[in-house]
């Protein structure tokens, strides 16, 4: 079922842009004269986004012990950058929220996998003692954005491909290449460029499966690479691959932890995941 490659590429080029709330937010944050109130006002104009933001901030993903009621409080606790990340996550959720799902393979399972990878990436970042882990959740959440793009554009064909790949224990990148001439990594990178997502995020979208990187000290890529494998191992959501790949050995230069750590994280991952999927999957 080789899809017309050129047609698929042009469909990706015509893909919807992110909601304006995200670009307004980017603009406000990059303006040194903006105040917390300015940023809060932009978010508060979008009521649905506000309600959702407050819910996510209070979810176990962030583990904040006090209750957050307002956008301003959320900014104080999480900072501009993480709030911007959450608005990005919610914007993406909005774009894919109304995607028609096909029985062969439910799109919700892909999204659940993404949430799991976001949660695990952040926990790994914390566990290895990274001080700045604010981009870890969003990187994990969006690592497979290319799969969602495929699903939205060529849903029925892609759902069949995912099912076929899963049932036959195949390598998804190979299967995609054979059928579409393009992988979800490349599709994801194209969307990241169109949406002007930050460079490090686009790098992760393109390299999370292989950990190909020329960059030094890319702890975040190492965490997302491993989190992706752990989510498959723990069967949280479904990435479309049953075959579990071995981590790139190089990541063990970054993930320096005591034996026993993964087993210790098992319950926390399961628990955070089950409490977060509801908040992050309900559309609108």
């Amino acid at each position: 079922m080789m899809k017309d490659y050129q047609q698929l590429i042009s469909q990706i080029r015509d893909f919807p842009t992110l909601p304006t709330i995200y670009s307004s937010l980017l603009e406000a944050i990059s303006n040194p004269l903006s105040t917390v109130q300015d940023v809060a006002n932009i978010i508060s104009k979008d009521q649905a986004a506000t309600v959702k933001l407050i819910k996510v901030v209070n979810s176990p993903v962030y583990g904040i012990s006090s209750k957050i009621d307002t956008v301003t409080q959320a900014i104080f606790y999480l900072g501009f950058n993480e709030v911007k990340n959450l608005i990005l996550a919610l914007s993406v959720l909005k774009i894919f929220g109304n995607t028609h799902t096909f029985n062969y393979f439910n799109i919700i399972d892909l999204w659940k996998h993404a949430i799991a990878v976001g949660i695990i990436s952040r926990m790994l970042g914390q566990t290895i003692g990274q001080k700045n882990i604010e981009n870890y959740f969003i990187s994990g959440l969006l690592h497979d954005i290319g799969k969602l793009v495929f699903y939205k554009l060529i849903g029925e064909d892609y759902a069949k491909i995912l099912r076929y790949n899963f049932d036959n224990n195949l390598n998804l990148l190979e299967t995609e290449r054979q059928n579409f001439g393009i992988t979800h990594e490349t599709a994801g990178e194209m969307i990241a460029a169109q949406w002007k997502l930050p460079q490090n995020l686009s790098h992760i979208i393109h390299n999370h499966n292989t950990f190909r990187t020329k960059e030094q000290n890319n702890y975040m890529l190492a965490c997302v690479h491993l989190a992706n494998i752990i989510a498959d191992i723990m069967q949280l959501g479904n990435s479309g691959s049953q075959a579990i790949s071995q981590p790139n050995y190089e990541i063990w230069n970054y993930i320096k932890i005591q034996p026993g750590t993964f087993l210790n994280l098992f319950d926390e991952i399961t628990d955070t995941f089950s409490k977060s999927i509801e908040i992050l999957t309900v559309s609108n």
């Binding site: 224990n169 752990i230 723990m234 069967q235 049953q242 790949s245 050995y249 063990w252 993964f262 319950d267």
Partner: protein
């Protein structure tokens, strides 16, 4: 969850859940700091005997009967075609077996 341990039990990398204070209430090490075995001597000098650390030692001991474990293992091994190269990769495999065992147990 927080766990109180004797300073002799300190291992490198344990994370403090409460600050360590001397008898004057001065903070020697703040909460969130990571302790090392080399701290033992200093703590003993300051008269500190117990510290509170972050511990996830709660209910992560999964025990399955042999039949379920064997079934889970064979099921998981069908999804990997690689051999572990270090302790952490062995642990990843253990995670996979536990996951499958929990699913099998639930189905029964």
């Amino acid at each position: 969850m927080p766990k109180s341990i004797h300073i002799d039990e300190i291992q490198d990398g344990m994370i403090l859940k409460s600050p360590i204070m001397n008898k004057f209430g001065q903070i020697l090490l703040g909460s969130g700091a990571s302790v090392k075995e080399t701290h033992k001597k200093m703590l003993r000098m300051w008269g500190v005997e117990h510290i509170v650390i972050e511990s996830e030692e709660s209910n992560n001991e999964y025990i399955f009967n042999d039949e379920i474990y064997a079934l889970a293992k064979s099921k998981f091994f069908r999804t990997i075609n690689w051999e572990p190269r270090n302790k952490l990769e062995e642990e990843l495999i253990e995670l996979g077996i536990i996951t499958n065992a929990l699913i099998i147990q639930k189905e029964k």
